[in-house]
Subunit: 289 residues, 4 copies
Amino acid sequence: MHEARPRSAILLIHCPDRQGIVAAVTEFLFRHRGNILQLDQHVDTERRIFFMRVEWDLARFTLDADEIAARFARTIGRRFRMTFRLHFSDEVTRIAVFVTRLPHCLYDLLARTHSEEWRARIAVVVGNHPELADVAARFGIDFELFPITPRNRLAQERRQMDLLRRLGIDLVVLARYMQVLGPRFVAAYEGRIINIHHSFLPAFPGARPYHSAHERGVKIIGATSHYVTSELDAGPIIEQDVVRVSHRDGVPDLVRKGRDLEQLVLSRAVWAHLERKVLAYGNRTVVFA
Amino acid sequence: MHEARPRSAILLIHCPDRQGIVAAVTEFLFRHRGNILQLDQHVDTERRIFFMRVEWDLARFTLDADEIAARFARTIGRRFRMTFRLHFSDEVTRIAVFVTRLPHCLYDLLARTHSEEWRARIAVVVGNHPELADVAARFGIDFELFPITPRNRLAQERRQMDLLRRLGIDLVVLARYMQVLGPRFVAAYEGRIINIHHSFLPAFPGARPYHSAHERGVKIIGATSHYVTSELDAGPIIEQDVVRVSHRDGVPDLVRKGRDLEQLVLSRAVWAHLERKVLAYGNRTVVFA
Amino acid sequence: MHEARPRSAILLIHCPDRQGIVAAVTEFLFRHRGNILQLDQHVDTERRIFFMRVEWDLARFTLDADEIAARFARTIGRRFRMTFRLHFSDEVTRIAVFVTRLPHCLYDLLARTHSEEWRARIAVVVGNHPELADVAARFGIDFELFPITPRNRLAQERRQMDLLRRLGIDLVVLARYMQVLGPRFVAAYEGRIINIHHSFLPAFPGARPYHSAHERGVKIIGATSHYVTSELDAGPIIEQDVVRVSHRDGVPDLVRKGRDLEQLVLSRAVWAHLERKVLAYGNRTVVFA
Amino acid sequence: MHEARPRSAILLIHCPDRQGIVAAVTEFLFRHRGNILQLDQHVDTERRIFFMRVEWDLARFTLDADEIAARFARTIGRRFRMTFRLHFSDEVTRIAVFVTRLPHCLYDLLARTHSEEWRARIAVVVGNHPELADVAARFGIDFELFPITPRNRLAQERRQMDLLRRLGIDLVVLARYMQVLGPRFVAAYEGRIINIHHSFLPAFPGARPYHSAHERGVKIIGATSHYVTSELDAGPIIEQDVVRVSHRDGVPDLVRKGRDLEQLVLSRAVWAHLERKVLAYGNRTVVFA
């Protein structure tokens, strides 16, 4: 399924805005015979921050892959005081999926990785309840159970972090995981934990958003995928989408319609992250097209 | 533009739910030779309330139009303890549009009434600023200026209510009117004041929702049309819609994209009201298809 | 996952339109103490056909489930020359899924049935290529391989029909099955074969719609789920949806975006069919809300 | 309404793709102290064509506005064999709107220009029927009547073209104009005639698309705005959008729902054109974000 693509490199950059940045970066690539496949830039004019994503073909690039970052850092990077990340198109992201009892997002993530729609591998499924062990087993993925109580929470999170470290996890996906992660966990995986919240944030944060939506009588419900920060349901939003509802729809109907939305919005967000299209800053994201 | 339709009658009913309501109502219409054009019903199973909208052809109906309500009330209505409203398809609703400075919703409402897309007449435009007098004049509509200050608010609202009474106004449309109406005004026109709020309520109530949406970094913005109640931006929602935005969109872009949404959502809500398709109860609406 | 519901009955009716149908049906239910849960009706005023879906609670219904159909047929049914189908909410529909090589729709259908989101059972997966046998096996479902060549087509279809008969299949779902079914198969399962076509029909029927869409430079692509008839991609449409694309999207991007759409549109159509909400007539459908 | 913006210049470029284009253009701007406000590029990898839109602040730009084009042409332009257009943000586009009898798109265009939402001026309304003369008059715009018959068509088109030339028209907007323009007219305003077609092209081209859509039983209808070419309804698409319909919607309902869509899609297309965001090539468009 995964389309064969020639190996390319991706630079994600942000820095204080000033004149000449695009010229400098593109000249650097041109000089080393890098053919630009896609270039997108954005300036946050209020905060005066420059953002850029550039992807180029490595076929005839004259720098070795492992010297690009250093060379770029000490020339362009230093000159413009850039923060940047360098990725390669053939990296395989290692994912840990956290779940509780609802299977739909997990099924969707498993189908997409197993059919090689995504260049990623689910290395482990972590549950605080045992219900979804069978689903993981169906796909031959390890399931690790970490029951959470108010007393053992911190200890369990330490054990979870050990596991993720041991497995070399790059990305944590909370697939309707009904626990709040502690600040140490969040700090360790900053910008690398994606959650799906079953409302159109900032409307209806917290628990039971479908009940609240029904109570309020809204005509549209939504789902929001965001990076997890220490503040609940307030991290940088990656993707949102909505679906129309009516007076006929009781809470079970909202749950049913929302389910499709949740897995779609979560998978779009994970895909954008895997494609290195997302730059988070402050409480916002730049999601390049 | 307005399609010629034979004269029909519309009953909007709600009552405690019990067996036999549909049978009784449809038998009543059948007995008097009323051909049902459209029938829609809904049961709020939690609150055990029955809702119904039925429209029938009056061509061969054996009751005179002006005796239908009384006859229905003392038979079916009494038996099921119904609250009902009877309308006729040839009624022309008289509208007062309240505005401040933004013209887009006003233009849209004027175009729809003047082209006879709607069976309604804008009898007056009320402004708390003079800017839009020209727009009203362009369409030959009276513009009445009521400047509002904290001190004169109550007196001005009394004068506004006098005007509406004198003009026989059936419906007040707040077309980006930047004032909060007082409780006496709201009570006098309960269920007959429609507002457009420029956010996807309940997200971003109150002032400057586009600024708040931009600040929060949402990927979708919305607009909400609702009946006005004494609580700000909390009345029964009639219609909502959304449009996608991105990191590229600054506040002026949100304002621009939102403008189209506002006038569309407002006009859909007014249309549903004019077609007698909306039943408000508690803080919710039934909007029949 | 599947919400526990009390047992109910569903009548799907169509007949020539005339006065008194709703009154007669609801009076029939009322007389036998059937509490109406949902009633929806529609009149095709051009063709003068009446359509109705009514669902009622069987808890206190005074007719036995197995005598309802006969009693209804010889009273109301005969009087109004109705065609009707009677269903019960606890029926479990037996599905055969036909596939070729693309797994996404199959995964989605398997996840929905296995998580008991739907009251249905996938009894067999039929493939004309062996690629997806593994996916079926992962969920413990039989996979039957029927390679198709121009010469063996008719014989293979006969064998497929034998298999479906033996398994008591109620519904055939073509989940990106890349073969055209012959007229005998189609006739045998009229109104019970649902296909997903990867375009917004009637635009781009036939093969390679994403290539055609890209070639034409459309800004939106779609997917269409419909009942299969003897004419290719021309059967009654159950559900459609679309997604926005841009000049940046090459054919592989359309394929990727379309994939999500296909499985969503197919699953919505199958769900509406399972819930007995769809009435096909001529080349159209009534899909009750 | 129109936000005050500092004067900027916009370059729209396309040329054969090769390495170093972005570097060359941005270096040119940097050297003359042009601060890039927005840069977007696209490569059609199949056809190997490079597209770019770059907008920069003129405040401290060291070239005079009227020498930019010539300087750019004989350096970068020549080197990369570019086709380019240079625009300035303070240009006021002069529009001729062509209409027949339906007023909704005309009202919308008039409202947007009169409220200064757009930096454009409607210089004339051209009708082949007299019905909309009043609407133009309401806004103080000249209305010119050109009745069209099979016999006078060519002569009338010549007269229309004379009028447009005399008025210095930059853009022709066909706002539900029910006539096909001849090849000479189309050639004279290539890439400068925008039409709205009331279907989701390529579905339902030609006359009466709502009737065809209803006949086919589609669940979604659309509208398409495109540049006019010599082939009917086949020019490069600028914008499309859709709205959901159901079995309840007869042709008049499709017309009503479609009306809102038509004016929205048309105005989005005109806005993109006015903002110099559209590049047409072959039968496709690049519409920069």
